[in-house]
């Protein structure tokens, strides 16, 4: 792995240490934080309660939300495709599409899966697509959020460039709030595992209130977002 | 009998002697023995807030000295009481003065805070049948943390119709020297405050800090508005069935 270049660090950091009235330190033991208010939130909620909270929060963020079972998922998917104006549809390369038995319905709709062999024209296809389809890796109930650990297969373009975004949420991915996502990432970092280059937490369609504090839904990111929650386990 | 030392504050002493008299009488009626340490001057806030720490320290030292023998120090100004609470930090580098400052701060109370939290009284037997609204002063609420006491006391004033003031948390624009250093801004803040007061249709504005009242009242006067401005001590000292003042007809019943 190529090492990047660091410039001017010594002079810069020596100056900071001087200002702090001491010599340079190169390591510090992070304290056990006195205040950890995040640890108590929704701790004892059941998956059912978390699901209800997720649905409520997602709707409040102008996302559409549907609940379905693994059997009915293909049907719900078709309905949503139609609602969102149909093809062209792009999807991330994700083993879960097969796991949930979606191959045939996706093939019916000519869904194009992200394929690194096909080169950077993939980005153009995503930019020209009407719908981007992906799976949530972790789902935050409190804020109606899907967390994506994007990599070369689960490409970030899928839920960024198309006009609308459909996100399949396996119920097993539900956690109370961002605390659990951060804990999960933190553990991996501590264990020395290099994390994905893009970790994106998406809480609905893009929006802005920059004009007279008037909320407009749909700016640069997807203008519509739909979560389909699948009761898996 | 509880011995209370009155910290009258320079503004009150200079411009609102009548308010000070009402404070004394209310406290006495509630069973306190009030004394007045003559060595008191100004708490030093105008100098401190303007950055003149050394001059403020001179005032602070004198005040600490003046109130050394007091059991309770009570002031009709939340802002000035809050300044006493600031003294320990001001003397942080001087352990002897810091301890004296700490002792003074620990026994200092704003007037309504003292009545409700120390004397444990909410009904002082006052009667004042007017429609009024109450101005919450910034230092009293935010720095001193006294938010409930004035309302508890006013609730028991017979005949008083208290209307809530909207945007009450917005500063009136007094801010001590701010009122003379930043006149155009101070003016706008006063005018917005007055707009909200007028929305309540109150006849009287009640407050617990003479600085704010002097500023809002002075502006009301200049604008020719008929709203009366009173310190809460004056309201609490109103007895009599028809809302007549309790004693001393000559006493001014308004701050302005």
């Amino acid at each position: 792995m190529k090492q990047g270049v660091i410039q001017n660090r010594e002079r810069f950091l020596n100056h900071l240490a001087e200002k702090l009235g001491r010599g340079r330190k190169t390591a510090v033991e992070k304290p056990e934080w006195t205040y950890q208010p995040q640890r108590e939130i929704f701790k004892r909620w059941s998956k059912e309660e978390l699901l209800n909270l997720f649905i409520k929060s997602a709707k409040a963020n102008h996302s559409e939300v549907y609940e379905t079972t693994a059997e009915e998922l293909p049907g719900q998917l078709v309905k949503t495709f139609e609602n969102f104006g149909g093809v062209p549809i792009v999807a991330s390369k994700d083993a879960r599409f097969a796991e949930f038995g979606l191959e045939s319905v996706l093939s019916e709709y000519g869904v194009s899966f992200w394929d690194i062999q096909k080169g950077s024209r993939q980005m153009d296809s995503a930019a020209a697509a009407n719908i981007g389809l992906s799976f949530s890796d972790l789902t935050l109930a409190e804020s109606g959020t899907a967390v994506f650990f994007n990599d070369k297969h689960k490409a970030r373009s899928i839920n960024l460039l198309p006009v609308s975004s459909i996100i399949i949420v396996p119920k097993s991915t539900l956690v109370p709030r961002i605390t659990q996502a951060c804990d999960f990432i933190n553990q991996r970092v501590q264990s020395g595992e290099p994390i994905e280059s893009y970790i994106n937490m998406v809480s609905g369609p893009s929006n802005s209130a920059d004009i007279e504090m008037n909320l407009v839904v749909g700016v640069h990111g997807p203008i519509k977002v739909c979560f389909i929650v699948v009761i898996d386990k | 009998m509880m011995k209370v030392s009155l910290f009258v504050t320079c503004l009150c002493e200079m411009f609102y002697a009548d308010v000070a008299k009402d404070v004394v009488e209310v406290l006495e009626r509630l069973g306190c023995e009030v004394d007045f340490p003559t060595g008191q001057v100004c708490c030093g806030q105008p100098a401190y807030n303007s950055g003149y720490r050394k001059d403020a320290i001179k005032a602070a030292k004198q005040m600490i000295k003046a109130f050394e023998g007091a059991d309770y120090v009570v002031s009709p100004s939340g802002s000035c009481a809050a300044m006493f609470k600031e003294y320990p930090a001001i003397f942080a580098a001087d352990p002897v003065m810091k301890e004296k400052a700490r002792q003074l701060a620990a026994k200092t109370y704003e007037f309504t805070q003292f009545i409700v939290d120390v004397l444990k009284v909410e009904d002082v037997g006052a009667s004042f049948p007017v429609k009024a609204t109450y101005h919450t002063s910034c230092h009293m609420t935010r720095l001193l943390g006294v938010t409930e006491a004035p309302f508890k006391l006013l609730k028991h004033v017979r005949g008083l119709e208290l209307v809530p003031l909207s945007n009450s948390y917005d500063c009136c624009g007094f801010g001590g020297t701010f009122s003379v250093k930043m006149v155009p801004i101070s003016e706008q803040m006063a005018d917005e405050k007055i707009r909200h007061i007028e929305e309540t249709e109150a006849e009287v504005l009640i407050g617990a800090d003479n600085g704010c009242l002097m500023h809002i009242g002075g502006r009301l006067n200049r604008l020719g508005k008929p709203i009366r401005v009173m310190h809460i001590a004056q309201v609490l000292n109103h007895r009599g069935e028809g809302g007549e003042p309790y004693v001393d007809e000559d006493r001014k019943s308004t701050v302005l």
Binding site: M1, G4, V5, N8, F12, L13, A17, R24, T26, A27, V28, K30, T34, Y35, W114, S120, Q122, D151, K152, A155, R156, L160, D183, S197, Y198, M201, V202, S203, N207, S208, I211, V216, V219, P222 | C10, E13, F15, A20, Q40, V41, C42, A47, N49, S50, G51, Y52, D55, K58, Q62, C138, D170, C171, G175, P184, A190, M214, G218, N221, R222, V247
Partner: protein, 483 residues
């Protein structure tokens, strides 16, 4: 562009802006709205259990981080570089500009897209890139509007184009870009999306700011709503992140707390639409990641606060909660501060970054009401720091009016000598007597003149309180006439 806005002296700016009715009404309405939203999402949100604990957590984390800033910046740069990213430490704005100019020149890039970043505005990056022939496009909607309007300056940290109404924006788009639709925000926004879409897809260099850098993983976290930051960090081949050196957390554990504080305090959201943590790409065959990552860490005067009583100002997470409760900001608006950092945080930070010569009046534009200190999610004692600034100002770095120092000196003497004080109190009614009419003074002399410019002053009580009190005590001890 740089941190400074305009060249007019402070009082002139204030007078001018006080006379702008749209701006005044916009400020008041935004404040009321955002204040309410923050309260609902913080103090009044029972699911958080105790908002004070969150503030304490924020303060604790920021204090520790700043006390070990050298450690965490070293860690951040090591981890960023270990993934192939390049790090440049810039002590001054000029160093940062030069590095970025050289980099962009080497890449022969012309199309630059930017996500919102106040530090890039602070260091004047846009002009520096335009100077070398680049087209630099602001992609955040508000910043885009300001840019199209001949580089108008921001008036609020979170809602920069607050001072413009929809008709003005429609006219700007029409005049500069040939826009023909209506002033409806949906249509204006759709137009911006359309205009910027192609620019995103053709961009060669993307520039971002940094909400929080995570030291332990070498990551940059951006907190946004529009999706433009995601476009900027996905499509171009090169991404340059400019970071105020204090915008850092030790690990993802602390990120949780600070992102929660920021989203809820700024706009009352639990999380913004996109919380995006990116790190230099490790997979060489990834098709939609930038190839080249640069992190420029900027001091530009922030270290002036380190190790001093002003250090807490570096806790700031740029939520603008203080701006939203400031009664002074409410009336004078963002541009009056003459700095891209406005309101209470602006009044404390601008003199530290830009000196007292330019920003010395700002700490005085406050009634010290304490609303800012009360609301700050990371517990910066803002109004107290304004007093600390005033102390420095009158003790040599500033130019207080000569009369004032003398007056305060006299005050100090009078306030430490009870007899002098009592004399002043006794004399006041007689001195102001000639100016009083009907119990009030309408045209005060000397130092009272500014007061009476807009307010009446009560005539000092002729009835001396101390005398009354003595008599009152005597009559009480004689069996009391009061009943």
């Amino acid at each position: 562009m740089s941190m400074k806005i305009g060249n007019q002296p402070f009082f002139e700016r204030v007078e001018k802006n006080l006379k702008d009715p749209y701006m005044r009404q916009a400020m008041a309405s935004v404040q009321d709205r955002l204040r309410g939203r923050k309260l609902s999402a913080t103090v009044n949100d029972e699911s958080l259990v105790d908002w004070e604990m969150w503030r304490n957590a924020g303060e604790e984390i920021r204090t520790h981080t700043l006390n070990h800033l050298d450690v965490y910046l070293e860690q951040l740069s090591d981890n960023f570089a270990a993934r192939g990213g390049h790090v440049f430490f810039a002590e001054t704005a000029e160093e940062a500009r030069l590095y970025i100019q050289e980099l962009v020149k080497k890449k022969k890039a012309k199309n630059v897209v930017k996500a919102k970043s106040m530090v890039t505005e602070e260091i004047g990056l846009n002009e520096a890139l335009e100077d070398i022939g680049c087209q630099v496009l602001e992609t955040d909607l508000a910043e885009y509007i300001l840019q199209v309007d001949d580089h108008d300056r921001p008036s609020h940290i979170v809602v920069p184009a607050l001072h413009k109404n929809r008709e003005q924006i429609r006219d700007i788009f029409h005049e500069k870009m040939g826009y023909t639709k209506t002033e409806k925000p949906e249509e204006l926004t759709a137009f911006a999306r359309e205009q910027l879409r192609n620019s995103f897809l053709e961009a060669e260099v993307g520039i971002t700011g940094c909400n929080f850098a995570v030291a332990e993983s070498g990551s940059i976290v951006l907190v946004t709503n529009e999706g433009n930051a995601n476009m900027v960090t996905t499509i171009p081949d090169t991404v340059i992140t400019v970071m105020g050196m204090e915008r850092i957390v030790p690990s993802w554990e602390e990120l949780d707390i600070l992102v929660t504080l920021l989203c809820r305090s700024a706009i009352g959201q639990k999380l913004t639409t996109y919380i995006t943590g990116f790190s230099p790409e490790l997979e060489e065959d990834s098709l939609d990641s930038p190839k080249d990552y640069h992190l420029v860490i900027v001091d530009n005067g922030r270290s002036n606060a380190l190790g001093t009583e002003f250090q807490p100002v570096l806790h700031c997470i740029r939520c603008a909660a203080c701006v939203n409760v400031c009664p002074v900001y409410r009336h004078i608006g963002g541009h009056s501060y003459g700095s891209i950092y406005q309101g209470p945080i602006g009044a404390v930070l601008s003199p530290i970054l830009g000196g007292y010569e330019t920003y010395g009046e700002l700490p005085y534009a406050s009634s010290l009401c304490g609303a800012c200190t009360e609301t700050c999610p990371v517990k910066i004692p803002l109004h107290e720091l304004l007093i600390r600034h005033r102390e420095r100002y009158v003790n040599g770095v500033g130019h207080p009016k000569t009369g004032e120092k003398m007056m305060m000196g006299l005050f100090g003497i009078g306030a430490s000598t009870p007899t002098l004080f009592q004399m002043a109190t006794k004399m006041a009614p007689w001195m102001l007597g000639p100016f009083a009419e009907d119990g009030r003074v309408t045209k005060g002399p000397g130092p009272l003149k500014p007061w009476t410019e807009i307010r009446d002053l009560p005539a000092p009580s002729k009835d001396n309180f101390r005398k009354w009190f003595k008599q009152h005590k005597n009559s009480n001890s004689e069996g009391g006439a009061d009943s």
